[in-house]
Amino acid sequence: MAGFWREYRENWVAVIALAVVSLVVAAALAAPLITPQDPYDLANLNLMDARRPPGFVGSGGYAHWLGTDAQGRDLYSAILYGLRISLQMGIAAGAVALAIGAALGILAANAGGKIEPAIMRVVDLQLSFPAILLALVLVAVLGQGRVPLIIALVTAQYAYFARTAYGAATAERQKDYVEAARATPLPGRRVVLRHLLPNCLPPLIVVGTVQVANAIALEATLSFLGLGLPPTEPSLGMLIANGFQYMMSGRTWISVYPGIALIILIVAINVVGDQLRDQFNPRLRR
């Protein structure tokens, strides 16, 4: 583990990205403590403060460093609260999709027979289908709210994990240590859980990292289209959508700052994911 970190440290871009991700996560967790306003509490909002530019000191007596939006929300507070929702959705969807996908992929690789092609054809079919389309349909059917949104994100993403887990498990299964475990003989469940699964985890963690970023982007897209969470709890996507109509009138901050926050988060997670991939991939090892 120490060696892993030493190798990670050699790529300073990845170190900065990791620091950014940590900072964003910390800021999102601590949002109620470090923001001047709870943007979800309608009592705090004053329409007199709406659409004010960055630096404006509003009725609350504090400066809105990133300006305010059309409802008079402090954008800095709204962005941190929005990041909270985006991260929650991304991580929850990523984790559930990882669990389901890994289980399906390893099951397919391990079961063989008719189960293997049955699972993998469904997965392949879904991979050939744009994730956003599937998520759109599901949200439209299931309605708004956190649970339907997570279901939509998971459905759109588990197939990536299933593919990855299947590939890793078929490769690992060929190795002698799995055969040695079967030859002992150890019970099938033990072989899968203690021998196969731990050795399939590295690629899954890499895909998981990148998929969290994808889930955040997907959630933002759905919210932007008005299909995400209710407008009372705006995530980053909805903040961007809300500010969109004011872009032409020069009030660009309402969309631009949440957009920048979103991009920084997604890019940083992807850079971390890339570095993890490089480090887990023995072929790129020097």
Binding site: K175, E179, A183, T184, P185, L186
Partner: protein, 327 residues
């Protein structure tokens, strides 16, 4: 001596997996090769209690497949394997713990994410041979027995050299208290000096534990060194089998003779030098083995009879079994 492991008329075919892609390619008119590979054909052998049977042959001759069927890891397509009267497999799964295997590649045969102490104790704990609380002490004892520091139990496989890993793999197999040990090319990937250490360890433990073993290798000298009896395989069949000393001193099958002649031999003492004599021709594909005796295209003694009729594996005067019309 009594037979402990008996193999009767065992064959194994591997059919290529026909994927969806192959089916579509077939529909579009491409030729998809669906011929099964006949890895092992009609092999009958028995291993006697306490002996080491060497199984030798070139790559693709089916020796590993046969070894895996004997070890109860692979089900035969035809025929029967019994270990002390009972089949080692049921419904395609190994059920017995009385036979254990040491694999060729010490880098692949240990789970990279399991401490080696856990690797050694896992089987015995799962099968109730030792209580879970004893696992640490037990693993340490076995490490000491195969010449490693008991403190190594807490380490992971990547912290060991190839020879050390193979010691761990031997400890894992023997910790199950098997009656029969199958060694599939256990020293093939090791350096000469390490190979000698592992062979010595094998010889010592075999004597101490009174093991019966099947020793598979492509290396004729290694097989000669450890085996009481030797079986020579060519293209899925046994062509010669008998006491090791007899076979090496007086090979009866032309393939055995040619194989022995191909190995560069160091001659020390009076006439220093190295001699070898190559066999002609290539190994035929197991997809389309030659008719008659499979060795006839490369055999200097081949006659019309060899091209038409496959010789049976028949006992000679001294008990050696040879499958050759001209033995």
């Amino acid at each position: 001596m009594t037979d402990i492991l008996v193999v009767e008329k065992v064959s194994r075919r591997f059919s290529p997996r026909i994927t969806l892609g192959d089916r579509i390619a077939g529909l579009l008119g491409a030729t998809v090769d669906r011929r099964p590979v006949q890895a092992v054909t009609d092999v009958s052998i028995s291993v006697r209690r306490g002996e080491t049977l060497g199984l030798v042959g070139e790559s693709g001759c089916g020796k590993s497949t046969l070894g895996r069927m004997l070890a109860g890891i692979l089900a035969p397509s035809e025929g029967r394997v019994t270990l002390a009267g009972e089949p080692p497999m049921r419904h395609g799964h190994k059920v017995t713990t009385r036979i254990q295997t040491v694999f060729q590649d010490p880098f692949g045969s240990l789970n990279p994410r399991l401490r080696i102490g856990a690797t050694i104790a896992e089987g015995p704990v799962t099968h109730g041979l030792i209580p879970r609380a004893e696992a640490g002490r037990f693993a340490g004892e076995w490490l000491a027995r195969v010449g490693l520091d008991p403190a190594f139990a807490q380490r992971f496989p990547h912290q060991f050299s190839g020879g050390q890993r193979q010691r761990v793999a031997i400890a894992r197999a023997l910790a199950m208290r098997p009656e029969v040990l199958v060694c599939d090319e256990p020293v093939a990937s090791l350096d000469v000096s390490i190979q000698a250490q592992i062979l010595n360890l094998f010889l010592d433990l075999r004597r101490e534990l009174g093991l019966t073993s099947l020793f598979i290798s492509h290396d004729l000298a290694v097989v000669r060194h450890v085996s009481d009896r030797v079986a020579v395989m060519y293209l899925g069949r046994i062509v010669e089998m008998g006491a090791a000393a007899t076979i090496y001193a007086m090979p009866r099958h032309p393939y055995t003779r040619a194989l022995l002649d191909s190995v560069p031999k160091l001659a020390l003492g009076g006439n220093v030098g190295v001699t070898f004599k190559p066999i002609q021709g290539e190994l035929p594909s197991p997809l389309s083995p030659p008719a008659g005796c499979a060795f006839h295209p490369r055999c200097p003694k081949a006659s019309d009879l060899c091209r038409q009729e496959r010789p049976a594996l028949l006992p000679q005067a001294d008990g050696t079994l040879v499958a050759c019309h001209h033995a």
